[in-house]
Each structure stands twice: as structure tokens, then as C-alpha cells.
């Protein structure tokens, strides 16, 4: 069967790698140790493209929190709230979407971030230590609640915000 080129996708759709408009063209991402995961975060499961709407929705996670806006109790959780920022970060770890960061998942992230600079042994003890520190229910994995608790004192609103278009 001859190779059939795919029909040109909607110009507003971004694909993972190919094409000058797509994520693969962002050179800096290739050097980002967790670049793949970040790209992966834009694609919902099974999808290979992302449209403008969902692209912006993902980016909206990183809007700085607007404190002045009146909070109505009935309004849904804003997408840039502390909790959704945390969830975004959590999902970067949790690649199999089981709601837990297992030791292996943690090790993978650590390995990419610390690569070649520490020994595997040190990595492992760091991972053990990390899990041990955060793990409250003793299942040797970090659930989202535990993740949130361990970051209680961190200024997530600052760390996970970027000022777009300023």
C-alpha cells in the first residue's frame, strides 16, 4: 500500500512533533528535561492533535491568580486556582494516571532532572526519602492529597504562574 499523506490538519491544530508549527519545532523544549511530559500534558488521552481551545485551556493553568476577583461560592473552581496548578504538576509525575506517584515514576522524573550528575544509588535513596517523607498512608506512593500536603507551605501561586503577554 503506497504511503498516503494525511490530509492537512486544521491549521489551528497542533501536533506533537512534525511540522514547523508544532511542538517539535520548539527547540528549547528539547533541552528541557521534562519537555516531553509538558508536551504530553497538552494532549488528552489518545489524541494526537490539540486545538486552539484546549491549548489555551492548558495555558490558562499558568495565569497568575487574581486575588481581587470576588469569589462566588457557586462559581466553579477557576482553572488557575492553586489546586488545579497542583494537579497539573502532579500529572507531570503521574504518567499512568492512576492517581498516585509511584516510586518508579518519581525515579524517572528525578533521573531526567538529575541525570548523570548523581549515581543511581543516590537517586534511589532520594526517591525513597521523598516518598517516605510524603507518604502518610504507607502505600509507598504519593497520592494527590499527600502531594498537596507536602507542598502546603510553598507559594504555588507564584511558582506555577507566568505572566503572558506582558
Amino acid at each position: 500500500m503506497p504511503f498516503m499523506p494525511e490530509p492537512d490538519p486544521d491549521p489551528w491544530q497542533l501536533r506533537r512533533l512534525n511540522g514547523p508549527q508544532d511542538f517539535g519545532s520548539v527547540k528549547e523544549l528539547a533541552t528541557n528535561p521534562i519537555g516531553d511530559r509538558i508536551i504530553g500534558a497538552f494532549f488528552s488521552q489518545g489524541q494526537e492533535t490539540v486545538d486552539f481551545h484546549s491549548f489555551v485551556r492548558i495555558l490558562a493553568h499558568f495565569r497568575p491568580l487574581d486575588k481581587n476577583r470576588a469569589k462566588r461560592p457557586d462559581s466553579p473552581e477557576p482553572i488557575n486556582s492553586r489546586i488545579s496548578k497542583l494537579r497539573f504538576a502532579f500529572q507531570l509525575y503521574d504518567q499512568d494516571n492512576d492517581g498516585k506517584i509511584s516510586r518508579d515514576e518519581l525515579l524517572q522524573v528525578l533521573r531526567t532532572m538529575l541525570e548523570m550528575q548523581v549515581t543511581e544509588e543516590q537517586l534511589e535513596s532520594i526517591a525513597d526519602r521523598t516518598i517516605q517523607e510524603a507518604d502518610l498512608d504507607g502505600d509507598n506512593a504519593i497520592s494527590f492529597d499527600e502531594f498537596r500536603k507536602s507542598l502546603e507551605k510553598v507559594n504555588i501561586e507564584h511558582k506555577m504562574s507566568s505572566r503572558f503577554l506582558h
Partner: protein, 902 residues
């Protein structure tokens, strides 16, 4: 217990009081001679005083004096020394009671002591102290302070907030000067105060003096209660740069103040000059900063003068900027910021420590002296008191500061990722203490200004008011208001990792959006830095020889640390170990982990190259980096904590030598001949992608027993002999390693090795001798078969540190199959925790399949673990983290009967 402490304190304080009295007495008694010292300090050296020159031409009229006092000769340095000592003693005194300095800032205490000393001097004699003139201040005392702050400026947060810092420093200072100046001029129009003769220029000049903030005390408080980083760095940076702005402004205005008439052109000229002064300072700063960095490139052979260049070049920057009437503070700040990074890379570790220490020392000393003199000068200068003017000055200084902070924050907030909230603004405004710069500038005022004394009085009042009232009250206020704080104490490891992940995420997201944040500029600068600057300024570190040198140095250092205080620590270890609960990491391990994390995850966009291909050897700079990191981690591991070297304590570490046949067939030229010269170099011979292990001796000391093949044994013994010689020649001590050699090893000089059977392996054990400081080396032969079946060995290929650790399992397995028939060669790496339990496990199984006799071990446990006190893998591997190396006279689980060879 309590009594003894207070007793001691009492005693020391009495001692101090005596010293202080003595010193002030000495200073006072020298007053008569000193009264002309004001001129003497800056102008003529006292040696040339007329009295002296008259005496010297006719010595024959007087008999040879048996005892003479020549005070004028030493007067100036003597006096300075005494002042410095006095101030330092005062500082020691109130640092002895820690509780005082928590609640009352040190600057307040110093001023108080100065007030007391000044009071004494005033009561006895009516003269102001002569040592501190404005010239002395600007030429000798200010540079160390500025150098200190700029050298220790936390670079990363500074560049993240550089916009805000400059905004507050430049615009804020201009705002304050203008605001205070104009409103004071308004006040002067009130008839009742009788200040009609102060014109606008003079008011502006005074305002520019008064608007320099110097929050030393505030910074100390902020640091102590770990206030949020943004606020801290803005206050820090502001006080540094607004000194520069103030001085520039002052110079312009003091010129303007003497002009009879000011025209519009002059205003614009003044503005132009302001810009030129700032940029000029910047230029000279860069120039001398790079010059300093470049110079240290060549100081490898003159390590002892290395630190000197830092001081001389920054001082030179300061002086040259001063020469051209440019902003000298700007110059020295830029110079320090520029050179720090490169210089610290170039100089030796020890020089680096020296530099930091001396910078800190000089800075602290100057600061102490200045506050001390401030107290003295308060008493001894002539004052002109005008209630109205002084009170209004106080009021305006405070109001304009608060207004300025508020307005400027409103403007800058939209540009900041985290805007300053109201509490931050309060901290910023209330932290606007006045200090040394104001004090010095006001004394620099030209004599022809009509209200000079009034200005001096007002400035001193403002300084005292802010330092005492605000300085003391800011701590409770900030604590009470709950201004945001950062937890700068050790966070959890979770926090550290997750934060880093978030930073990477933000960097990635910003890349996707094409946002140019500071990450972008950082990246750009880093590229430029790597490509151009580093090549010029940093000594070429890629030369093989320097790796060797570095390696040798580290290796020696390593061994020294091992041989130093180790035994006492190690012998105490077992009992300590028992005390630790299973789930607790020792604090030192935690710190190690933090250090590892914070060091290694720093680089946002840098991904170290992954060496997935066999041919892709790391380039040299990487090698060096890895080497350094290794050594850091090893050095850490040799300390009490056990964290990074879990492997060593868990099972034996073996010396690695590739099988001889392979070695010859693959790379014959690199085969080392074990002459003593090569032994030192042995560690870095690069063969088969393996770093030949060095520190067999170190390993031995750590693990207490290792298993060696005959060849390795030979090598090791030579190492031991050679090193003990080396150590004794270099350092004059050897922990007398009395070893008994097996009969076959008598001829150690035989380069081809002793006539040992190649098939035999040796177990080498090190016993600490009871009673003496020495150690005994014990060798026992192992029969080839028993050693194969019961000892775990690892393939030399598997333990390849610089190549991939996680790849090529197939190839390894293939080779392992070939190896099984060969004589047992145990190996490991020089103390490097380089475990890959997966492969170890794999290997042990694959070998077991080949060797029917060895299959009796549980397949789930790597074989080597059977030798050690067995550690459960289940229940978390944190278990083995608690283990630390310790001396064991015998390996209790060793399968062989100890057949000692004598």
C-alpha cells in the same frame, strides 16, 4: 551549670570593660598629641613634624638616649588600631549575650557605645575625634562595605528582581530627594521658624543626603526571621544602588548649591551628568571585573597572592571611578558581581575561602567602626538645634518614603509575577533606615553652606531616630503583621523536587508561548557566557594534565580525610546506628541530599548529554565535572552520614580490574606497568571505558575486607606501600600499617608480579589494632572454587561509571556468559557507590546457570548479600541508608575459616 556560665560571662565582660576603659584612656591620653591629627591623617605624615626635624640635625649635643618615646612616629596607625580594637571589643561584648542582639540591632548598640565613649571624651576634652574624616570614609571605609554587600549578593534572586530593585533605587531616591527637598523649602518659607536663608538648592542637597537608606539593621532582622525572598532582595539591592544614586546626586547638587544662579540648561546638564556618572561607573566596573577574572587565569602557580587580586581590582575600580568623578559605588558593585563567578572558578578552593572571609571581615569591621563613630560624633560635634526644621525633616523623611514606596509599587506591580502586597509595602517603607552614607555625606558638606551645622544635627537626629525607633520596632511589627515569609530553613525534599519540576514546567510553558521571561535571557546569557566569556576568562580546564592534577589533589585530600579523624567516628558508629529508628535518616544524610538536589537541579534548561552510545565518550569538561561531583559525593560519604555510599556498607566492594586477557587484546598500549610513578597516576588511566580503581587502600579501610585476585593483590600491596611512603613524606604521618605479607609476596619490586598462583584469590582484611593506632593487614587465600561459589563478583563492564548505566543489558549478559570460566576476579570501584542491583541480580543468575555449583542461592537476592549481615530488601530500602561503615575485626558472616597468613 548556670552559675558557671554566668560567672564566665561576668568575668569576660569585666575583662572587656577593663579593656574598653584602657583603650579609651589610651586614646584620650594621646589627645594632646593628636589634636592636629585631623590634618595629619589625611595630609602630612607626622614624621615630618617640625619638632622632629629640629632635633635630628644636632645629635651630638645629647647623649645617646637609653630609652625614648617617639609617639608621633606611630601616632596615626596606633590610633587607628586602638579605635578598631575598641569597636571590635564592643562588638564582642554584646554578641556574648545573644538575647540582646535579637531584640536590639547591633547598630543601635554600637551607636550607644559610641555615645558613651564620646561622652567620656567630651567630658575630658572638648575636641571631636580626629580619625574619621569624610575622605577616610569614602576612600577606606566605604569600599569594603560595598564590596561585602555586592560580593555576597544572592545573584539569582537579584537578577530575577533587578527591574524592581533599580526602579526603587533610582526613581525612589530621586523621588525622595525631590519630595523632601521641596517640602522642606516650603517649610522654610514659614516666618516663625526663622529659616528664610536656606534656599532651594541647599534644601535639595540636604534632602539628597537624607534620602539614602542603609538598612543594615533591617537586613539583619529580615534575614533572621527569613522574610520572603522578594522583599529581602529588594531592600538589599535598593540600599546598595541607592547609595550610588545618592552620591551621584549629592555631587551634582553640591555643585549646584554653590552656584549663584541656576538656569534651565543646568538642570538638563545635571540630568545628563547623572546618566554619565552611572554608566561610567558601570563601565569601569565591568572593565576591572573582567580584568580581575582574566588575571586569576594565570595565578595557578602563585596561589598565595590570588585573593589579593580580588581586592586590588575592586579597589582599583573604585578609585578610578572616583578619579573621573563617576559613581564609584556603582563601579565596585559591578566589578564584584562580574568577577565573582569567574574568579571563584579560577582560584583554588582555599583562596576562595580566604577571599570570602576577608571580604566579610573588612566589611563588618568598617560597618562596626562607622556606627561606633556615629555615636562618638553625635556627642562631640557642634550642633545647631532648630526644633521646627528637625521635626519637619523627620516627618518628611518618613512620609515621602512611605508615599514613594506606595506609588512606585503601584507602578511596578503589574510587571511583577508576584506583586507586593500591602504588608510588603509596609515592610519596604518602614525598613527605610538611614545610616552610614548620610552620616558621611553630611560631614562632606562644604563649609560655605550657611546651615551646615543645622544639617549635621538634623541628619544625626534622623539617623538616630530611624536606627533606634524603627530598627528596634521593626522586628515585632513585622512579626506581628505576619509579612509573608519564605521558609529558608531546610524544606522537605519533596518541596525541593517539586519546586524544581515546577520551574522546569514554567520554563517549558514559556517556551511554548514564546514568552521571553528571565529564563530566556538567562539562557541567552549562558550561551554567550559558555561560548565567549568562559573561554577567555577561565583557565582552560580541558587539558588532560589538569584533570590529573585535580584528581591527584582530590584523591590525596580524600585519603587524608579518611586517615584523619575517621577511626574514632567509625568505631563509634555501630552504637549510634542502633539508636536510629528505621525510618529516620540522619540529619547529615538529609543535608547531603539537599545539597545534591540543590546543586544538580539548578540548571533549568541544561540537560546533560546522555551517553547512550558506546562510542560517545563524554568530553573532557564533562569528565571533570563528573569527577568533581563524584569526589564531592565521596567526600560526603566518608563523613559520618551514610547516605551516598549505601552500597559499601551493604556488601563488599570489589576492586575492579578487567580480565587480563581482554586487557591485552583490546588495548595493549595502555596497560599500566605498576611502577611507583604510575601508581599515583593509576587512578586515571582510562581503559575499556573504565576508570581503573584507585583507592583500594581506601576501600580496604572502609570495608575492612575485600577480595582480590593475585594481580590485584599485588597492585594493592604496592599501593599500600607506596602510599604510606607518600604520606609519610608529604605529611609526616602514617597510620602505621603493619602488614604481614604472604610468603609468595616477598619480592614486591618484581614488576611482573609475585609468583602467586593466578587461580587464587585473596581476601584482604584490615584489623584495627587494639591499643595502638596502627592497623594490621590480614591476607587469607581463598580457593578458586569456594570463592566463585560464595563470593559475589561483578563484571568489570557493568561497573562502568562514565558510560551508560542503564543500557545494553543484552551485551552485558553476553559477555558475562563468556566470563564465567575465567578465574574469579572481584571488582568494584574506588569507593564509588555504583550499584545497579538489577544487573547484579541478573548477573548472579546468569552465572548460576552456567555453574551448577553456584545455583543454591535464592534467585531473588543478589548473591553478594549473603556475605554481609543480611539486610531485608522489603520494608523499604531506606534500611541500608542507616548503615554506616564501621570497623569489624572479622567478617562474622564470612564463609571461610580465617586462615591467616603470617
Amino acid at each position: 551549670m548556670d552559675d558557671s556560665i554566668s560567672c564566665k560571662c561576668n568575668w569576660t565582660s569585666k575583662y572587656l570593660v577593663c579593656l574598653v576603659i584602657f583603650l579609651s584612656g589610651a586614646l584620650w591620653s594621646s589627645r594632646d598629641v593628636l589634636s592636629n591629627a585631623a590634618g595629619a591623617t589625611t595630609k602630612a605624615p607626622p614624621v615630618n613634624s617640625p619638632a622632629w626635624t629640629q632635633v635630628s640635625p644636632k645629635p651630638q649635643t645629647q647623649p645617646l638616649p637609653v630609652f625614648t618615646i617617639n609617639y608621633p612616629r606611630i601616632q596615626v596607625p596606633f590610633e587607628i588600631t586602638l579605635w578598631i580594637l575598641l569597636a571590635s571589643f564592643a562588638k564582642i561584648g554584646f554578641n556574648m549575650y545573644h538575647k540582646i542582639t535579637i531584640w536590639i540591632p547591633e547598630s543601635c548598640l554600637l551607636i550607644s557605645v559610641g555615645l558613651v565613649v564620646g561622652g567620656i571624651m567630651y567630658a575630658v576634652h572638648g575636641m571631636p575625634p580626629a580619625v574619621l574624616t569624610s575622605n577616610v570614609f569614602f576612600l577606606y571605609m566605604l569600599p569594603p562595605i560595598v564590596l561585602d554587600s555586592s560580593y555576597f549578593m544572592p545573584t539569582r534572586p537579584f537578577f530575577e528582581n533587578v527591574g524592581t530593585v533599580l526602579w526603587f533605587a533610582v526613581v525612589g531616591t530621586l523621588w525622595n530627594s525631590l519630595g523632601i527637598g521641596v517640602s522642606l523649602y516650603g517649610v522654610c518659607q514659614i516666618e516663625a521658624l526663622g529659616l528664610k536663608d536656606i534656599n532651594l538648592q541647599e534644601n535639595l542637597l540636604f534632602a539628597s543626603i537624607i534620602s539614602a537608606v542603609d538598612p543594615v539593621a533591617v537586613l539583619a532582622v529580615f534575614e533572621d526571621i527569613s522574610i520572603n525572598e522578594q522583599l529581602y532582595i529588594v531592600v538589599f539591592g535598593e540600599c546598595l544602588f541607592n547609595d550610588a544614586v545618592t552620591v551621584a546626586l549629592y555631587n551634582i547638587l553640591s555643585f549646584v548649591a554653590t552656584m549663584p544662579e541656576v538656569e534651565t540648561v543646568d538642570v538638563f546638564l545635571g540630568m545628563a551628568r547623572f546618566v554619565v556618572v552611572g554608566l561610567g561607573g558601570l563601565f569601569f566596573g565591568f572593565l576591572f571585573g573582567f580584568a580581575a577574572a582574566f588575571t586569576t587565569r594565570f595565578t595557578a602557580h602563585v596561589r598565595e597572592i590570588e585573593p589579593f587580586f580580588v581586592f586590588m581590582f575592586s579597589y582599583l575600580a573604585y578609585l578610578v571611578a572616583e578619579l573621573f568623578s563617576l559613581s564609584s559605588i556603582m563601579a565596585i558593585v559591578t566589578c564584584a558581581l562580574t568577577m565573582k563567578y569567574y574568579v571563584e572558578e579560577n582560584v583554588a578552593q582555599r583562596s576562595c575561602t580566604t577571599i570570602r572571609h576577608v571580604v566579610k571581615m573588612l566589611g563588618t569591621m568598617s560597618e562596626t567602626l562607622i556606627f561606633f563613630f556615629l555615636g562618638v560624633a553625635t556627642i562631640t560635634t557642634d550642633h545647631e538645634w532648630n526644633w521646627g526644621y528637625i521635626l519637619f525633616t523627620l516627618l518628611f523623611a518618613f512620609v515621602w518614603r512611605a508615599l514613594g514606596v506606595f506609588v512606585l509599587t503601584q507602578i511596578i506591580n503589574p510587571f511583577r509575577t508576584i506583586p507586593f502586597n500591602f504588608k510588603d509595602q509596609f515592610g519596604l517603607a518602614y525598613g527605610g533606615l538611614r545610616g552610614a552614607i548620610c552620616f558621611a555625606l553630611v560631614f562632606l558638606l562644604p563649609q560655605n553652606i550657611t546651615c551646615r551645622n543645622l544639617f549635621i544635627t538634623a541628619t544625626i537626629v534622623v539617623i538616630l531616630f530611624t536606627v533606634f525607633i524603627q530598627g528596634i520596632s521593626i522586628r515585632p511589627l513585622v512579626e506581628c503583621m505576619k509579612v509573608r515569609r519564605t521558609n529558608r530553613k531546610l524544606g522537605t525534599i519533596n518541596v525541593e523536587i517539586h519546586k524544581r519540576l515546577m520551574e522546569h514546567t514554567i520554563a517549558g510553558i514559556e517556551d511554548i508561548c514564546g514568552q521571553w521571561s528571565h529564563y530566556y535571557w538567562k539562557d541567552k546569557f549562558k550561551k554567550f557566557n559558555d561560548r565567549v566569556l568562559r573561554k577567555i576568562l577561565i583557565r582552560d580546564n580541558r587539558a588532560e594534565s589538569s584533570i590529573v592534577a585535580l584528581y591527584k589533589k582530590l584523591e590525596l585530600q580524600n585519603a587524608l580525610e579518611l586517615l584523619g579523624p575517621a577511626p574514632s567516628d567509625l568505631s563509634a558508629a555501630p552504637s549510634l546506628m542502633d539508636l536510629q529508628t528505621k525510618r529516620n535518616f540522619p540529619a547529615s544524610d538529609l543535608r547531603n541530599m539537599h545539597e545534591l538536589l540543590s546543586k544538580n537541579m539548578y540548571k533549568i534548561r541544561q540537560r546533560t548529554v546522555e551517553y547512550t552510545k558506546k562510542s560517545a565518550l563524554p568530553n573532557d569538561s564533562k569528565v571533570r565535572e563528573i569527577l568533581i561531583r563524584r569526589h564531592i559525593s565521596i567526600r560526603h560519604s566518608f563523613r559520618v552520614g551514610s547516605f551516598p555510599r549505601t552500597g559499601v556498607s551493604k556488601r563488599h566492594r570489589f576492586l575492579s580490574l578487567p580480565p587480563r586477557k581482554n586487557m591485552e587484546s583490546r588495548s595493549p598500549p595502555s596497560r599500566p606497568s605498576y611502577t611507583s610513578e604510575n601508581l599515583l597516576r593509576a587512578p586515571i588511566i582510562f581503559r575499556h571505558g573504565t576508570w581503573i580503581p584507585v583507592a583500594t587502600l581506601d576501600l580496604l579501610i572502609l570495608c575492612s575486607s575485600i577480595v582480590l585476585s593475585a594481580a590485584e593483590l599485588n597492585n594493592t600491596i604496592k599501593q599500600i606501600i607506596f602510599r604510606s611512603r607518600l604520606f609519610s613524606t608529604l605529611f609526616g604521618f602514617v597510620r602505621s600499617a603493619s602488614y604481614t605479607l604472604p610468603p609468595g609476596l616477598a619480592s614486591l619490586d618484581n614488576a611482573e608480579g609475585p609468583g602467586l598462583e593466578d587461580k587464587q584469590s585473596w581476601k584482604m582484611t584490615l584489623h584495627p589494632c587494639s591499643g595502638s593506632r596502627g592497623t594490621d593487614l590480614e591476607l587469607e587465600p581463598l580457593s578458586a572454587t569456594s570463592s566463585v561459589s560464595q563470593l559475589q563478583r561483578f563484571s568489570s563492564r557493568q561497573e562502568r561509571p562514565l558510560q551508560n548505566r542503564y543500557h545494553q543489558p543484552e551485551r552485558r549478559e553476553h559477555e558475562l556468559g563468556q566470563q564465567t570460566s575465567r578465574e574469579p576476579i572481584a571488582e568494584g570501584l574506588w569507593g564509588q557507590p555504583q550499584r545497579d542491583s538489577w544487573t547484579a541480580h541478573r548477573y548472579s543468575r546468569s552465572r548460576d546457570e552456567h555453574r551448577p555449583g553456584g545455583g543454591n542461592l535464592p534467585p531473588s537476592a543478589p548473591t553478594g548479600w549473603a556475605q554481609e549481615p543480611l539486610i531485608q530488601k522489603g520494608g523499604g530500602s531506606q534500611n541500608h541508608l542507616n548503615r554506616r561503615p564501621h570497623w569489624r575485626p572479622h567478617n562474622p558472616h564470612g564463609p571461610q575459616s580465617p586462615g591467616q597468613v603470617d
